[in-house]
């Protein structure tokens, strides 16, 4: 549950092979195909994402429809294969629909942070000097907060809501992405061929676009995929605390919170939303690990 696992940014190295080895992506592809664990969890993730997208078409019933007579039914109850929740709503339908908000709230902050953090990091790394100081030292302030605390502080002050939760998580993920982008840009800037491009009179923007981005993008993209797993846990965690989605929306974290009292009646049903969060987060983590080792051609 944090962004500072030293293994992550430390292992990202500038790969000088990208530009001039034509078989790079096919090598990565064939490596991924041979990696059975990554392949399995990649497919599992695909299934979870598809189930969430297709929920309106594949869901057996309406996820909002309550039924007081059928409250807290256990797994396998006729008509409700995964039971019902505390107001008698169908759990299977809610779990399918729940993926929509949970995935959206988990992936969006990382995508926003990828754009903003990547921009700030490349800018700081390429410009160097005072601008670098200004950007990176500001980022350091956000590093002074444990990520969970930072997300809860901002959401708590802004108040509950999906937009506020996404905003607070985006702020959490900008600094680590900026730091990775800055490190790589600084390294790339001093490489011989980039120096050569500059000496031959190429414009800064052109150098950034061609030489810097081709190195930075792949690395921060892989790093960002590992952040999605944290983001999903945190986003659902905010909803679990009542800071994200509001009832009666189906969302895994919120469902988990609503079913907290149900553990004495239908414990297995109560644990189901968490299983979904766990599987999704695990899949993103393994996929990111697999991608990283497949893209690291030196190993």
């Amino acid at each position: 549950m944090n962004l500072h696992t030293p293994a992550a940014p430390a292992t990202i190295e500038v790969s000088q092979t990208i530009a001039n080895s034509p078989g790079y992506w096919s090598t990565v592809g064939s490596r991924l195909m041979r990696d059975k664990v990554t392949l399995f969890f990649g497919l599992l993730l695909l299934a979870i994402v598809l189930a969430a997208i297709l929920a309106p078409w594949i869901s057996p019933t309406d996820p909002y429809k309550t039924n007081i007579l059928r409250r807290l039914k256990d797994i396998g109850y006729p008509g409700h294969p995964l039971g019902t929740d505390q107001t008698g709503r169908d759990m299977l339908a809610r779990l399918l629909y729940g993926g929509r908000l949970s995935l959206f709230m988990g992936v969006t902050p990382v995508a926003i942070a990828l754009a903003i953090g990547g921009l700030l990091g490349v800018l700081a790394g390429y410009a160097g000097g005072a601008l670098n100081m200004a950007i990176m030292r500001t980022m350091d302030i956000f590093y002074a907060f444990p990520s969970v605390l930072l997300a809860i502080a901002i959401s708590g002050a802004l108040g509950a809501g999906i937009g506020n939760a996404i905003l607070s998580l985006s702020i959490v993920f900008v600094p680590p992405i900026a730091r990775v982008a800055e490190t790589i840009t600084t390294q790339v800037r001093t490489l011989d061929y980039v120096e050569a491009a500059r000496a031959s009179g190429a414009a800064s923007l052109r150098i950034i676009r061609i030489h810097v981005l081709s190195n930075v993008l792949g690395a921060i993209f892989v790093y960002a995929t590992s952040l999605i797993s944290v983001s999903i846990i945190l986003a659902s965690g905010l909803s679990f605390l009542g800071l994200g989605t509001k009832p009666p929306e189906p969302e895994w974290g919120l469902m988990l919170n609503e079913l907290r009292q149900a553990i004495y009646v239908t414990p297995y049903v109560a644990a189901l939303p968490g299983v979904m969060i766990f599987l999704t987060s695990l899949s993103f983590n393994l996929l990111s690990d697999g991608l990283r080792s497949a893209m690291d051609l030196k190993s």
Binding site: I141, L158, S281
Partner: protein, 316 residues
């Protein structure tokens, strides 16, 4: 090395100031800072008077300096909800959170070193695969859910351990008796899963990296046994691993809010949760400031200790 420590201390000052600016800004993020205090039907006059009393009519930099001055003197303001000083409430809760975080870090550290060390030493073996699996599960699991699952297993099904609270009858002051220890077990195990996963992964990759260095081959060629080689590896891995452990303690202090909510543990996370829902902004600010400052301080200590125990860093 003393120069390094002095520089590191100096560097902490702007960070700490930045943290205070952020925490100060929180009250204005929440919209009109008066909205939580004033009754909705209050007259414009009352609102203006309150605005003056609280100093919200002054320019922001002045407000910040006044607030900072008070904070530096240990005055974190009074709670809007119970009118008690924020610091008193916090000081009562900090030991509970600290205890949970320290025990969880110790458990996670022990498990992580064991699993990660074995995995790194016997790379590719069954133990390695198992430890890697546990490591990745540890960093992927939503711990608030794990807490619920443990409650379901050990409190609801097996009836071995209490589900929530810190002691019998809603006790919020720790005592070293069996009743309190029983309440500590499940939250500790739940919270320890995160450092366990991260430390397993760190130790494994650090050990693997050290083993691939030439000096290890030299040691083996010299005829050292497995255990003796491992001793050298451990000495080399210690700075990195200890640094990660120190930071984890900081994360758990700040991140225990979810676990404290699941277990109704009377710590800082519980206070924070309560403050959020009653819109008790001074309480929210105070808790976050205290936890963040603790994290800054811990970072400082970790850096200094790391320099101190690693002779390579001492020289540079």
């Amino acid at each position: 090395m003393f120069i390094y420590i002095a520089l590191r201390l100096l560097y902490t000052i702007p960070i700490a100031l930045g943290v205070t600016i952020f925490v100060f800004a929180l009250i204005h993020l929440s919209g009109d800072p008066l909205s939580a205090i004033v009754a909705p039907d209050a007259t414009a006059e009352t609102v203006e008077k309150l605005r003056k009393d609280y100093g919200f009519d002054k320019p922001l930099p002045v407000q910040y300096l006044v607030w900072l001055g008070k904070t530096l003197q240990g005055d974190l303001g009074t709670s809007i909800v119970n009118a008690r000083p924020v610091l008193d409430t916090l000081l009562a809760a900090v030991p509970n959170t600290l205890m949970l975080a320290i025990f969880a870090t110790l458990v996670g550290f022990t498990m992580g070193c064991l699993l990660g060390g074995l995995a790194g030493y016997y790379q590719g073996s069954i133990i390695d695969k198992l430890a890697t699996g546990i490591g990745i599960a540890g960093v992927s699991v939503p711990h608030y859910w794990l807490g619920m699952v443990l409650v379901i297993i050990f409190a609801v099904e097996l009836r071995l351990l209490p589900a929530t609270g810190m002691g019998a009858g809603g006790s919020s002051a720790w005592q070293w008796d069996w009743e309190h220890i029983k309440h500590l077990i499940l939250p500790t195990v739940t919270l320890s899963v995160i450092p366990c996963g991260i430390i397993t992964r760190t130790v494994r990759s650090t050990v693997a990296e050290i083993l691939s260095q030439e000096f290890v081959q030299a040691l083996r060629a010299k005829g050292l046994m497995h255990g003796q080689v491992m001793r050298h590896v451990m000495r080399n891995a210690a700075p990195t691993v200890l640094a990660v452990m120190g930071l984890q303690l900081g994360y758990l202090l700040g991140g225990s809010i979810l676990v404290e909510t699941v277990f109704n543990w009377p710590g800082t996370g519980y206070i924070l949760n309560d403050a959020i829902f009653r819109r008790d902004i001074p309480m929210l600010q105070g808790t976050i400031l205290l936890l963040a400052m603790f994290f800054v301080f811990l970072n400082l200590i970790v850096d200094i200790v790391q320099t101190w125990i690693d002779p390579r860093m001492r020289r540079s």
